[in-house]
């Protein structure tokens, strides 16, 4: 049994933590949040130069790591600092799908992604699909020299910055079938594809994407026709790991802020950390964060296992993270009192970002049900 990081991972963690502490100040982050791009080109390039993006890809895909523990390490550090950069969307989801399904020509873009020069977004969810991965209503109809897509995609994170969108559409089957789903790489400026962009709570931007008779050539298809579902669920598993690790980092930072606050804030003549009622609650927060850490380790170790094993860990981890996150957010704000409600104080940003994590890749309830189906029933 060994829970230590390898030397390579330790070096990456140390370097990344130092870099983010310097580059990713609260001021820098606020500037990024106000910008529709939702990332700073300097910091993005810095992360690429450090090899952070490369660490999310396997060697055969041009990266140098790409295992679950690498993903967990990178996103925990990004979470700690409350980074808003859409690395999940470009690298884990978009880059991951191209790495698994792409032709050699399509894979060329991965090199650019790793170098920090390309942005991607995955347009899969739809207004009525909620968290159900197979539920795709958008259609792709085969014509003489390509496909025509029609439909609507919801909350496509990073779409406003992405040069290319990876869009899922049904080429056959019924609305909730796993078979019959295809993926297409579509340049953002393609005729018939319109984006309504907006900021999302906790930082970053997304778009509602409308596809109205969008014509794409055959070469736009990613993978075999109708057979994209397995890759989508595999990349969803890796993205879930990434966001759970990010949540863990956010929780750690909220706990640290709250701990410091309890030591310094005085009421009734003493630091409020002297009140046992608060001490015990912060102790509970600490225990739940350790549970969350173990859950992230469990998922990191099984994220590329066969689907039935993998998905039990996806659901167990995402459910536990959702519950722990709500506890940490609510206790963090409550123990801070009024200051915790203000937008200007660091806690507000961390709390919002952590709260929103429950709304991506399946929420606490959704994964409770999945876990019951997979492991209990």
């Amino acid at each position: 049994m060994n829970f230590d990081l390898t030397d390579e991972r330790q070096m990456l963690q140390d370097g990344l933590r130092r870099y983010l502490a310097d580059a990713y100040t609260a001021e820098a982050r606020k500037k990024i949040e106000d910008d529709e791009a939702a990332f700073s080109p300097d910091i993005w390039t810095g992360l690429a130069e450090m090899g952070v993006i490369g660490a999310l890809f396997r060697e055969e895909d041009g990266g140098f790591a790409g295992e679950g523990f690498d993903i967990a390490l990178v996103f925990e550090e990004l979470g700690r600092i409350g980074a808003v950069d859409p690395l999940i969307d470009t690298a884990v989801l978009g880059g991951g799908l191209i790495a698994v399904l792409g032709t050699d020509a399509q894979k060329d873009v991965i090199e650019t992604v790793i170098a920090g020069g390309a942005h991607l977004a995955v347009a899969h969810g739809e207004p009525s699909s909620r968290f159900d991965m197979p539920r795709v209503e958008t259609t792709a109809t085969k014509g003489a020299d390509g496909y025509t897509l029609n439909g609507r995609k919801a909350i496509v994170v990073n779409a406003p910055s992405a040069e290319n969108l990876i869009v899922s559409a049904r080429t056959s089957g019924d609305i909730a079938d796993t078979d019959g789903i295809s993926l297409f790489i579509i340049p953002a400026d393609t005729d018939g594809m319109t984006l309504r962009s907006y900021p999302i709570v906790g930082g970053g931007h997304a778009a509602e994407v409308t596809l109205s008779d969008v014509s794409v050539p055959n070469e736009a298809m990613l993978g075999a026709e109708g057979a994209a579902y397995d890759a989508i669920s595999a990349m969803n598993a890796r993205a879930t790991l990434a966001i759970c690790a990010e949540a863990l980092g956010l929780m750690e930072s909220i706990k640290t802020l709250t701990n410091d606050y309890l030591k310094t804030r005085k009421q009734f003549g003493v630091p409020i950390g002297k009140f046992q009622a608060l001490q015990h609650r912060l102790a509970d927060v600490l225990i739940e964060i350790e549970q969350a850490r173990s859950a992230v380790i469990n998922l990191a170790g099984h994220v590329d296992a066969e689907p039935s094993v993998r998905d039990v860990h996806v659901s167990a981890t995402k459910n536990l993270i959702g519950l722990a996150a709500r506890l940490v957010v609510e206790e963090g704000i409550q123990m801070h009192g009024g200051i915790g409600m203000t937008n200007e104080y660091e806690l507000g940003h961390l709390a919002k970002r952590l709260t929103m994590i429950d709304h991506r890749f399946g929420d606490t309830d959704y994964h409770m049900e999945q876990f019951i189906k997979l492991a209990v029933a």
């Binding site: 969810g125 207004p127 009525s128 909620r130 968290f131 159900d132 539920r135 919801a154 909350i155 609305i175 909730a176 309504r196 907006y198 900021p199 999302i200 709570v201 997304a206 509602e208 005085k266 009421q267 009734f268 009140f275 009622a277 608060l278 709500r326 609510e330 704000i333 409550q334 009192g337 009024g338 915790g340 409600m341 203000t342 937008n343 200007e344 507000g348 709390a351 919002k352 709260t355 929103m356 429950d358 709304h359 991506r360 929420d363 606490t364 309830d365 959704y366 409770m368 049900e369």
Partner: protein, 398 residues
Amino acid sequence: MDLNYTEAEIAFRDEVRAFIKAKLPDHLVDQSKLGTSLTKADYEEWHAILNAQGWLAPNWPKEFGGAAWNAVERHIFEDEMTKANAPRVVPFGLSMLGPVLQAFGSKEQQDYYLPRILNGDDWWCQGYSEPGAGSDLASVRTSAVRDGDHYIVNGQKTWTTLGQYANKIFCLVRTSKEGKPQQGISFLLIDMDTPGIEVRPIVLIDGTPEVNEVFFDNVKVPVENLVGEENKGWTYAKYLLTHERTNIAGVGFANAGLQNLKRIARLEQSGGRPLIENPHFAARIARVEMDLMAMSTTNLRVVSQAAAGQAPGAESSMLKIKGTIIRQEINALTRNAVGPYAMPFASEALDEGSNEEPVGPDYAAPATAQYLNNRKLSIFGGSNEIQRGIITKAILEL
């Protein structure tokens, strides 16, 4: 034991319902349902409608222009108003300052200020909290030093709700440093237009500037603006807080929130079926509804005692804690109910008169903002930790 209202109470409820049906403007109901923020003009419009009916100040005695209802009648009124999605009545002048002036103010103060509150001439805000004081009100430091016919006020207040709309502020100020911290506090009425006052908005985590900081730099306040006696302000402040704690359970808000949650859960689809048919989510709604049913009765038990002349004590602390937990759970469930559409940051769509169309269904837009904003429920008005302290001391004698 009879859990039903008397015939007279039912007749009163029907009268309230008829009034709401006739007089509550649709646009205020729509705003309340969609979670768009109300403007000063919206509040004033609704206050004027209630005042014309003589119902703006349910708790004031008749001699001051109030309705003089008992606790059960007030409960029925508040319950019907919240169920109908009527805007809340801004409490600072009506429920907080009014009763203090009636009990402790001079005849001149009563004659001047009370009609102005009813007529909407003055909008009051509350100057209690200070940076570093929070729930520990006795540690206020804003000073008022007597100088001839004036007090010279220096210091800072914070969390001043809707202070941006106010032309008057009632403040706790320190007039003496002798003795225990509770001594030496006075209760002062200040015109917000006086030179030396600056109001700065504080943006909250939901993006709204609902609260403010108020700075006092050598502000001259006439001595006749002192309420009661110098250095006795703590007594008046405590009196005010007991009035603030009526309707503390927020049963009506919880009921309205629960109905909204169920409506959303019927409209949202999960796995091709309405979310409300999802056993896991339905169980969570059921749990909070059962809790709310019991709390409504706890609330009525306290109301009924109060109507019989017993002042509510630590029971109001129980209602504050349980009431805020229930309302916050309903907010959390509503955020969960809208699924991924909780993510768009829709601050502009929530501004009154905005033409910005919300992203996703209209009921989704306010869900996250309301969840975040209502984290305050367990913090303000004496945090839930302070309330637990009151219970352990007053009831459990620990």
